[in-house]
Amino acid sequence: MNILKFFTAGSVDDGKSTLIGRLLYDTDSILADQLEALQSSNRKNDDGTIDLAILTDGLRAEREQGITIDVAYKYFQTEKRKFIIADTPGHIQYTRNMVTGASTANLAIILIDARNGVVEQTIRHSYIVSLLGIKHVVVCINKMDMVDYSETIYSSIIEKYKILAQQLKLADITYIPVSALKGDNVAQTSENMDWYEGESLLHFLEKVDTDSLDKSQLARMPVQWVVRPQTEELHDYRGYAGRVLSGTFNLNDKVTVLPSGASSTVEKIEFFDQALDAAHAGQSVIIHLKDDVDISRGDSIVNASALPQESKLIEADLCWMDTRALDTSIMYNIQHNSKITKCKISEILHKVDINTLEKHAAEEFKLNDIGRVIVKTADALAFDLYDDNRANGSAILVDPRTNLTVGALMFRAAVE
C-alpha cells in the first residue's frame, strides 16, 4: 500500500467540499462522534440531509462564512491506498492557498459545474495545476444530477476543456461525470449514467500510477545534519544525514559535493540499525563518503555524472503570497531545500493574468500575483529545472523583516 496525495481545485459553488465530504462518507471515514457533531450543526442541505461540506471547514471563521479559507488536510484509507487530500479554496483571493496545496500533490482534481461548463475559474485552476507541474489530472464534471445526467452536456464540456488542456500542456487527463451531492460516480459507478463507461472517481484514485520509484539519474541529497557522535568507540564517525530528493545512490557511486565541487565515492549507506545497498528518492538516510571532505548543512551530495545547474542568476516563475507587495529594492532570503542565502528579485519579466492566461509587462507584484522573474542570489544554487525535478527545482522566499514566507519559486532556466 502506498500514499496518493491529491489536491482539489474548485469553489464552494462547484461543490468541492461536498465532493470531499462524499469521499470520506462513502469510504466510512467519518466516525460516529463526528457525524453526531455534524447532525447537531445548523447547516443542512435544502432537502434536510447533512451538509457534508462542513467536514472540511475547520476554522470558526470558515464555518461562519461557509467557505474554505485555508488549506485543510484530510485523510482516508481504503484497502488499496492511503489518501491525503489538500483541500484548498478556489476563489482568486486564495490563489496562494491553492499553490500551497498543489505543491505537494501528485494528482489534481479539477471541478467543473455541469451547468456552467468551462469558466474563468476553470482556466485559473488548470493554470495552477500546470504551473505546479502536477502529473495527473482528473476533471470532475459535477452536479450532473442538475442537468438530467445529460451525456451531451458532458461531452461538450470535455471538448471545450481539451482545448484548454492543450494550451496548458496538461498531459494525463481523466474525465469523470459525477454528482457529489447524490454520490453518482464518486465511490461507485452510477446507474444514472449508463452512457459513462469509465470508473468511479474512487476506483480511479485507487489505481492511478503514482510512480513512487524515481528512475531518474538525478541523484540528489541535500545535507540536513552531520551526525558526529564523538564518542570513544565512534571517534571517527561522520555521517551525512538527509532525505534523498530524487534518483538513487548506490554503494560505490561516484558523487560530487556542491557547492565545493569535491569528488568522492559512497562508502556506506545507513538507516538506523541497517546498512543499505542503495538509497532511493524519498528515503531519509545517512551517507558516508570515502574521502574526508568538508561538508555542512546546506551542501548537496549529487550524482557526479548528472550534475545539477549552478547559478546565481535564475529565471523562475513566482507566486507572491504576502499582503505586502514585492519590493525589488530589498533583499529576501531564499530557501532551497536545506540551503538558505540572500537574494533579490532583479527583474520582473512578465505577469500572467491567470483568468485569461495573457502575459503582460508589470512593475509590481502583489498578493496572489503569478509571473516570471529573474532571481539574483548571493551564493550560487545547485538546482534542477522544475519540470525535470520538482524537488530540486523549487524554493521559497522569506521576508527578513517579518520572517513570513512571501513567495514560491519554480526554476525555469539558469540565466547565462
Partner: protein, 301 residues
C-alpha cells in the same frame, strides 16, 4: 537497479525524520514535548532513527500535571534510562504552588487547561525556540489546518489567520526573538498509522493502552478511571470494568473505553472497526465546536 518497496509507513517515517532533522538544523534550542502517550513515544523512535548513533540534539520535556497514570510515569522513567537522553519536567503543581494558576473546583475540575501556563513558563525558562509535538491533523478539524512548522507568538498564541504558506517539503523556521515554533512531524499520520507503526517497530507502550481491570465511574456518558484526582461524590457509582485507554492525558480528562484488547493486533482491529474518534474520548474537546481552536490560540499543544 535494486528493487525496493517503499510502503506508506516508510514514506510517513521518512517525512517525519526529514522534519526532525530540519528542526535540528534550523534551531538553536529545540525540545521534544513528551507526554508518555503513544504519539510522543513514536516521536522518540523517529528521533532515534533521525540521529543515531549520535545524541538527540534536544532534550525531552514532560509537562507533568501531577494527575498522571502511574504507569505512564514508570514508562517515562524507564524509557529515558534506556535511551540515555535528557529529560526536563515542567510541573503544574509548582505553577499552582507559585500562584501562577488556580486549581479548578467543582465536579468536572481538571488540570488540563492549567498545563498551558506551565508549558509556556517552561518554554520561557529554557528559552526553547522550537517544540516538537505529536499532534496529528486527523485528530481534530482545527488541527487539520495547522502547519507542520507552526509559529507561536511571545504569548504562546497560534493565529490561524496568519499562518505561513508551507510549500513542497521546505519548512520556514525563521522567527523573531520571543517567538517559538511548534513542530508536528507526524501531522500526516492517522491514529491507525501510528498503531501500525508501533506494531511494525515493536515499540513498547505503557500498559494502560491495553485491556486491564480498573475501578471506573461514568461521567457525561464517558468512563473515567476512579482516582483521588476526580472530584467524586455520592452520585458517582464505582464499577469494576475491563477497559483500556486510547489516549493518555491527565487522569481527570481522559476517558477509558471498554475493551478486551490485550495485544496490538486486537487494538488495531478494534480501531479499524470503531465508530468513535480518538478525541471523542477527550472531555476537553467537548466544550464547544471550536474548543480545540480556542485552546490552540491560547498556547495549548
Amino acid at each position: 537497479m535494486s528493487t525496493y518497496n517503499f510502503d506508506y509507513l516508510d514514506e510517513l517515517e521518512a517525512e517525519a525524520i526529514h522534519i526532525l532533522r530540519e528542526v535540528a538544523g534550523q534551531f538553536e534550542k529545540p525540545a521534544l514535548l513528551f507526554s508518555g502517550g503513544k504519539d510522543s513515544i513514536t516521536l522518540v523512535r523517529l528521533a532515534e532513527k533521525a540521529f543515531r548513533p549520535g545524541k538527540f540534539p534536544f532534550p525531552l520535556v514532560h509537562i507533568d500535571t501531577g494527575h498522571n497514570f502511574e504507569e505512564t510515569i514508570t514508562y517515562r522513567d524507564q524509557m529515558v534510562e534506556r535511551i540515555g537522553e535528557k529529560l526536563i519536567i515542567g510541573s503544574v503543581q509548582e505553577s499552582i504552588d507559585q500562584g501562577k494558576v488556580v486549581e479548578q473546583t467543582g465536579k468536572n475540575a481538571s488540570r488540563n487547561a492549567l498545563q498551558t501556563v506551565t508549558l509556556l513558563d517552561t518554554i520561557a525558562k529554557y528559552q526553547f525556540d522550537a517544540c516538537i509535538g505529536g499532534a496529528r491533523r486527523d485528530e481534530e478539524k482545527a488541527r487539520a489546518k495547522e502547519r507542520i512548522f507552526s509559529v507561536r507568538d511571545e504569548f504562546g498564541q497560534w493565529d490561524p489567520k496568519r499562518q505561513r504558506p508551507e510549500l513542497w517539503n521546505i519548512y520556514n523556521g525563521k522567527i523573531h526573538k520571543g517567538e517559538n515554533i511548534r513542530v508536528f512531524p507526524i501531522s500526516n499520520w492517522t491514529e491507525l498509522d501510528v498503531w501500525n507503526y508501533i506494531r511494525r517497530e515493536k515499540i513498547d507502550l505503557p500498559s494502560i493502552y491495553f485491556s486491564h481491570e480498573r475501578d471506573c465511574i461514568t461521567r457525561n456518558g464517558q468512563l473515567m478511571a476512579a482516582s483521588p484526582f476526580l472530584n467524586m461524590d455520592d452520585e458517582d457509582v464505582v464499577e469494576r470494568k475491563q477497559v483500556r485507554f486510547r489516549t493518555v492525558g491527565d487522569m481527570s480528562c481522559t476517558a477509558a473505553v471498554e475493551s478486551d484488547a490485550t495485544l496490538i493486533d486486537d487494538i488495531i482491529s478494534e480501531i479499524s472497526a470503531s465508530k468513535i474518534s480518538e478525541r471523542g474520548a477527550r472531555l476537553d474537546d467537548k466544550v464547544s465546536e471550536a474548543a480545540m481552536e480556542d485552546r490552540k490560540k491560547g498556547g495549548y499543544f
